[in-house]
């Protein structure tokens, strides 16, 4: 085995499994997240709920702010760049970010092309709402996938829809006969070898997390039972009444997602959850960005 960055980058995602990745906007929040048991933090200037509220164009965060968070914690630090904005990604690589999220939460910089992620040494995670999107991103070099969900809403319905869609399509590909896989690749508009991988292994070629709208321990457990290998929590923590307690409860819920008794205890007395927005009330569907 030589120094294959793609393999090493997939390996880092494997180490994050069973964990919770939390959005943070300051070094103080990053420290709270780390001591509550986050396996990584996502450094960004504004959490999705505020991006949604503020409107306008949303861009990569100030590198100085990201560095402040890198210095505050010992766990991996991720940051977002706009879809297709390879110069922002180059900047994030230059400050040695541990993972880049090419994210639909920010305003897309390119409405046709995603970043050619094979040109980078640092790993990328990308959002997907079905198997076709997931495998196209992997084909472009993403070494980790997450559901898009609908960020900043506190409404888990879209993450559920995306996870169910991916799992159903994975099951379908698994049940095809081998001579049907060529057509499946054409239908999904993805490379054949990735379809073959899904057929043989009954899973994505990379780690798959849930993201978008997770706000409670029960939400996290729901996503894990639906097949997520870990969870991103964005606005759900620092938009809630008691971030420390809620963060720690979600971390424990991801470990013991099948134990309803423990989930009941974890769900007690968490204070107020973030105020959610239902999907019918949303003006901007971020999940529709970047297919």
């Amino acid at each position: 085995m030589e120094n294959n960055r793609f393999e090493l980058n997939k390996n880092l995602a494997q180490m994050l499994k069973g964990g919770v990745i939390m959005d943070v906007t300051t070094p103080e929040q990053a420290k709270i997240a780390e001591s509550a048991g986050a396996c990584a933090v996502m450094a960004l200037e504004r959490i999705p709920a505020d991006i949604r509220a503020a409107g306008g164009v949303s861009r990569m965060s100030d590198p100085k702010m990201i560095k402040g968070i890198q210095n505050a914690v010992s766990i991996p630090v991720m940051a977002k760049c706009r879809i297709g904005h390879f110069a922002e990604a180059q900047i994030l690589q230059a400050i040695e970010i541990d993972y880049i999220d090419e994210s639909e939460v920010l305003s897309p910089a390119d409405d046709k092309y995603h970043i050619d992620k094979t040109k980078f040494d640092v790993p990328f995670v990308c959002g997907a709402k079905d198997l076709g999107e997931a495998l196209r991103r992997v084909g472009e070099g993403a070494s980790m996938i997450r559901t898009k969900g609908e960020p900043g809403t506190g409404d888990v319905v879209q993450a559920v829809r995306h996870m169910r869609m991916m799992q159903a399509e994975i099951r379908r590909i698994g049940s095809l006969s081998e001579d049907e896989l060529f057509d499946a690749a054409k239908e999904l508009q993805v490379p054949y070898d990735l379809v073959l991988y899904v057929h043989e292994h009954k899973k994505l070629p990379v780690v798959n997390f849930a993201a978008g709208g997770v706000a409670t321990p029960a939400d996290a457990a729901l996503m894990m039972q639906l097949g997520a290998e870990g969870v991103f929590v964005g606005s759900g923590i620092f938009k809630s009444g008691n971030p420390e307690k809620r963060a720690a409860a979600i971390v424990k819920a991801v470990t013991n997602y099948n134990d309803a008794k423990m989930l009941a205890e974890l769900s007690e007395d968490l204070g107020e959850a973030m105020v959610g927005i239902n999907e019918q009330e949303i003006e901007l569907l971020m999940a529709e960005r970047g297919k």
Partner: protein, 197 residues
């Protein structure tokens, strides 16, 4: 052989697959009730040591597992597992089981850009492939610790009686020799105990 795999966070499924493939019967440890099962060996997988350390305590697993390790339960820690077993960590104030006389450096090769592959000799097993992911290394070892492998001048695997640690991830390389080494180690320790009695 019954191997308990700490499954609070990290790459525990890879360890299970590796050890099951070698004929061991594995079970996951996620909460206290899982500790009532018979256990011949314990694996602490890769992941984040801060997360595993916190969950071990929050879920009431820390004290009973520490007791078992101190009483001689064979244990194999990779990467985060190495940090959980180290008595000293140079650049981290947190201590966990602290049952092995090694001084570790956390994230010793830097951030993800510093992650790498290597091949090196491992205590008579020959040259084995090694994956290092934001890995630690061992800066120094106590008297009773046997150094098993060195990469680039740094100790990356060591053993102290019933405790085995690697800074790299043998569970990611598809090479079963290090896991077999652990299972053999358990057998040998059992034999030794039997002959004592």
């Amino acid at each position: 052989m019954n191997i308990g795999i700490l499954a609070v966070q990290g790459a525990f499924i890879e360890q299970e697959q590796m050890l099951s493939g070698l004929g061991a019967s594995c079970f996951e440890i996620r909460q206290k009730s899982d500790l009532s099962r018979p256990m011949d060996g314990l694996v602490i997988p890769g992941g984040e040591s801060t997360v595993q350390g916190k969950l071990l305590r929050d879920l009431g697993l820390f004290a009973p597992l520490k007791e078992k390790i101190e009483a001689g339960l064979p244990v194999f820690g990779t990467c985060a597992g190495l940090l959980l077993l180290a008595k000293k960590i140079v650049n981290d104030e947190r201590r966990h089981f602290a049952t092995m006389d090694i001084t570790a450096v956390r994230n010793a090769y830097g951030r993800q850009l510093g992650s790498f592959y290597a091949k090196a000799e491992f205590d008579g097993l020959g040259i084995i492939p090694m994956t290092f992911i934001r890995a630690p290394y061992i800066e120094s070892v106590g008297e009773n610790v046997q150094v098993l492998s060195v990469v680039g001048g740094h100790i990356v695997a060591a053993r102290q009686s019933s405790r085995l640690v690697t800074a790299f991830h043998p569970e990611l390389c598809g090479d079963t020799r290090v896991h077999r080494y652990f299972l053999n180690m358990i057998e040998t320790l059992k034999e030794a105990k039997r002959s004592e009695v």
